[in-house]
Subunit: 349 residues, 2 copies
């Protein structure tokens, strides 16, 4: 319907004000309105005030799509992660959101599933709708990273170390080493490992690094590797529970277990309870993550600052986008051992 309120200043408020309505109301040109409202230079303070007040009065908000079309920028960051339902992803999203919200950017979310190849294509799928992207646990490797970088969209990768693209990760090897060294120092000599090689068909580098750390700590403690103590828990509670059962059926049972994730540690605790094995008396358990419920169950674990990683990823991206900073190099985040009550010296018996 024609909302034609022809008249000037103090006129009625249109359905949805456009920049022209504001210009008319303030008695300036649309260009001036555009500049004033975006705090660009070369606008007299008095003019800016006048424009502001008109905009307020008319409840004017620039149409995002028109602005995007005209400027070629979206003020939106895309986030792609394998699954949304993990504590890890939620925490990451929260960290990213923290900084985007503060800078007036929107967050567009996509899940990639656990497949590997998808990432390139998926990334393309929202490329035009975002100014930059945070790629969580895509494990694309440097070749694919170079391709993404070449495509132009700003991106930062979380979870692996890359050179073609800015990346952020924790030192997984060190984390695992910390955990296993702790167990060795407690006096354990039969220390099992529950990891996960088969996360979907993704080729994650994380398990390898944590495995390395486990081996290193073993060597440092002059302990020898025993393959019967190394099992795949598929990074799930149930997978680890099954792995633990197998461990418990060994003639020489381990006195300690290092799990590559807290959730897998929960699976071990479950299996232990079922088998009447007491933690930490009969078995010490260490996880990796510091999942929020781990404290409640006294799980000793390796903490990684996920939310901070999300924050850092987002702010690096914004630095590049808004202040065209150079793409930052890889950044390692700190890990630390959190000792709680699931670990103790091995039982003398």
């Amino acid at each position: 319907m024609g909302t034609h309120n022809g008249d000037h200043a103090r006129g009625p408020i249109p359905e949805r004000a456009t920049i022209e309505d504001v210009a008319r109301d303030a008695g300036v040109s649309v260009a001036t309105v555009s500049r004033a409202l975006r705090d660009l230079p070369h606008v007299a303070a008095s003019t800016k005030a006048k424009v502001r007040s008109s905009a307020d009065r008319l409840q004017y908000v620039a149409d995002t799509n028109a602005a995007r079309l005209a400027s070629g920028r979206t003020r939106t960051i895309g986030l792609i992660a394998p699954i949304m339902t993990s504590w890890y992803t939620g925490e990451m999203v929260a960290g990213v959101e923290d900084v985007l919200q503060a800078h007036g950017y929107d967050l567009l979310i996509t899940t990639s599933g656990l497949r590997h190849r998808g990432e390139a294509a998926d990334q393309m799928s929202f490329q035009q709708r975002v100014d930059g992207a945070v790629l969580v646990d895509v494990f694309c490797g440097d070749a694919a990273a170079a391709r993404i970088a070449a495509a132009g969209t700003a991106a930062v990768v979380v979870g692996e170390q890359l050179t073609a693209l800015p990346s952020i990760a924790v030192d997984n090897r060190l984390g695992a080493e910390l955990a296993v060294r702790h167990l060795a120092q407690l006096g354990h000599r039969r220390i099992a490992l529950i990891g996960g090689r088969s996360e979907g068909d993704t080729v994650s580098t994380v398990p390898d690094q944590r495995e390395d750390g486990y081996w290193k700590a073993l060597r440092d403690a002059r302990l020898r590797r025993d393959r019967r103590l190394e099992h795949d828990g598929a990074f799930t509670i149930d997978g680890a529970r099954n792995a633990a059962r197998r461990l418990f059926s060994l003639s020489e049972r381990p006195t300690a277990v290092f799990c590559m994730s807290d959730e897998m540690a929960y699976g071990v605790m479950h299996a232990a309870r079922d088998a009447g094995i007491s933690i930490p008396r009969d078995l010490s358990v260490v996880g990796f993550d510091d999942h929020p419920v781990s404290e409640a169950f006294g799980l000793t674990t390796v903490r990684q600052p996920v939310r901070d990683m999300g924050r850092l990823a987002a702010s690096s991206l914004l630095d590049v986008l808004d202040h065209d900073a150079p793409a930052p190099p890889h950044r390692d985040m700190p890990v630390g051992l959190i000792q709680r009550s699931s670990t103790a010296a091995p039982n003398a018996s």
Copy 2:
């Protein structure tokens, strides 16, 4: 480094093809291209094929922002939730994503924090960028809902029952009743409640409903209410842990506790462990949620289908948007008691 493609057939491939490039390549008008690519009626099959092949060759993808500006539709759904870091929100997001992805919609995420008022403003903040919104746990009440409905953006609210806007929720009263009835039937007579009135300054209706259910089950079992057994756990692990400590210091301790969330139940389990109270021998515990780690710790709980709620919310929204279905009425989702090993008959002693 250029676009190395066999540009044999027709002309070279432009930087980023526009609809005009395709039209030229296919020898038709832009209008026809637009129609052909969107499968609109009145396009000859042969023409459509021609256009398709040109589009493929030029790797043409319609610019989202231009399309949005011209059509007034964004093919984006907004999701607003108080915090991203809860299992509940993550699950909800996953459910919404499930259906959006299948229909080619984008998902825009915003957190509202725990304040109450924000919702109206926050909702406005991305209104123009979305075709519809899923409002999770905003507890806006029917008055605000009517305002939102009047504003025009399609919306569905999750977590409370409304009439002004389509809504989805579980029967919290029934859920709590199921939990407490289970305890009563086991023979418990001193059943404590750990809830949470003070979630930020949000006025949530959920605690009241669960409290109602608790009271009803008590009445049905001819048990009398004892205010010393009702504590506020603030819906956090630590809050519940403190509440449990107070409970344990009572001269007449409860033999069972119903917690309004699984996480609070974890807090109780923690406190129990610290106090040397054995579950379920000395204390039965029931939670609410069926958080994924609850199974590992044998927590008896009330399951609510969060992911399904997200799916339903999204698909209702899409029905309205894509097939202008009428706004659906409120929908109650099923809850069910999951019995595990944290509950048993009270100890004779």
